[in-house]
Symmetry: C2
Subunit: 301 residues, 2 copies
């Protein structure tokens, strides 16, 4: 299926998001080289024609576009700039696309390092979760050199439905952080409305139906409201991960002297979710924190 | 246009919402009797065939369904239960529909008073603002006796697009209060995301575009986000009115022993908007409170 005229792509980080994303690139006909810390996760892609490389440097040496999809800032720093990292192997004119959600500041630093090698880094975090990754319907928010972004765009289009160029290096991460502020604070409103309904004797399901046609409508209400009512706390997006992102928001914020009282509040309430062992549950577990605060019993809706 | 076989309706409270709502009832062919404290506001409806009555009692005596659309709890108490109020004139078997946003507790009290007269009160607050009132597209959340609600439904359908029966007396108000929690806290998230974008150097318009396709999506973001960017603070829904409603939320909450930290926070931030003379501006003025907190200059986006 690989078409030799297509740009060779490298993919590093084959977690729950990365594996299906890399799969779409393979389906798009690109020669693909992959690397993952846990080698077993490369097996399926290897069986479908991907080359497995032992180090990020080797991946970079074989690719014109190198994609990273990792957990946190130190992982990206290590994979891109560490010993045997991407920079050690990359050829001039290549583009690194970091699709992890990490510090905007780190993206700018790595972009500088890559520019010194006649390369560029595009930061392109995503939203849409594992479902979006599997269906190729991610929302991709990209920052960095515009030309480098345009070179990467055809590959991004294999993975996402909505691709927005947001501005210079770090801008993709900044947009993603805005996304996380919005989902968290909106969810907090949903949780409080549900607590209020239960406490005052209003059927929460009827409440959602009554308000969803108007100005109270949101993705969070429509998608997570019913899951809270059904006590379904399986992760679409995990508390531990939103906490990492909100930490980035508040760090970036502190540097910029911005005050975000509701974001700080929801970060603390998610910390309470973590304290009660809900770190690996979905963000909708925030509702349980609010329920406990108001003395509502678990499981009694 | 009045059809004598249609239920005679009374309408009390011809403000910015009430006037167009009463107009739709007239268009629906119902004989209509109106009353308003400021008599001049009855002129247009009178010219279109409505009868103007001097007191709520007289309105009630001429109607089988009496609608009230007033500002606050004491107004409704006075108009329904005061001297020359609705109860003084109402005939057995009639239904009072209170479409104001007021205390759920007061609705229950008035419902009891009316039941003693073989009548009933349906609480049916609305969302959708003056635009919804003009276009007959309000969302109507109704509580009270189910049969009384069904008798009023054909008249409600002249004014609203989404009509939800929420449960026993007061339930319409409770759903409306949930609506106000949701719009306020969601808007708070929108305001903080916009402050974060501006403070960190991300184009706020690009941010909205980048995040709107996914889990961050909300009516507040789509409709009020752009107005904040354009510095359009004209009221769709006024700060002073949302504050009245949030006060009802927190009062009802205190009685029910529920803790709503974000609702309490946004109530305080709206108080800051009022302190800066934005009480009669739209709720989106909340953004300016957050901007001031972060030292952003007015008018410089």
């Amino acid at each position: 299926m690989t078409q030799p005229d297509k740009t060779p792509v490298g993919f590093i980080g084959l977690g729950i998001m990365g594996r299906p994303m890399a799969g779409h690139i393979l389906e798009g006909g690109h020669p693909l080289t992959v690397h993952n810390r846990t080698v077993s996760k490369t097996a399926e892609l290897a069986a479908r024609g991907a080359v497995v490389s032992g180090t990020p440097a080797e991946v970079a040496a074989r690719s014109k576009i190198v994609i990273t999809m990792l957990s946190d800032t130190p992982d990206v720093e290590q994979v891109v700039a560490g010993p045997q990292g991407v920079i050690a192997g990359i050829r001039p004119g290549s583009v690194v696309v970091d699709m992890s959600t990490i510090s905007p500041k780190m993206e700018r630093l790595l972009d500088e390092r890559l520019r010194a090698r006649d390369c560029a880094l595009v930061d392109a975090p995503v939203s849409g979760g594992d479902v979006g990754a599997r269906n190729g319907t991610l929302a991709i928010m990209a920052g960095g050199d515009r030309q480098a972004f345009e070179r990467a765009r055809p590959v991004l289009e294999l993975m996402g439905r909505s691709i927005t160029y947001c501005g210079p290096s770090g801008s993709g991460q900044l947009a993603k952080l805005c996304n996380q502020i919005l989902i968290s604070v909106t969810l907090l409103g949903v949780g409080e409305a549900l607590v209020f309904a239960r406490k005052s004797g209003l059927d929460p399901e009827v409440m959602i139906q009554a308000v969803s046609a108007g100005a109270a409508q949101s993705w969070q209400l429509t998608n997570l409201g019913p899951r809270i009512i059904e006590r379904d706390f399986a992760p679409g997006f995990m508390v531990d991960l939103v906490q990492k992102d909100l930490r980035l928001v508040l760090e970036t914020c502190a540097a910029a002297a911005a005050a975000l009282p509701a974001t700080a509040l929801v970060h603390q309430l998610f910390a309470s979710a973590q304290a009660h062992g809900s770190g690996r549950e979905g963000t909708q577990s925030l509702a349980r924190v609010l329920e406990r605060m108001s003395g509502l019993e678990e499981g009694v809706v």
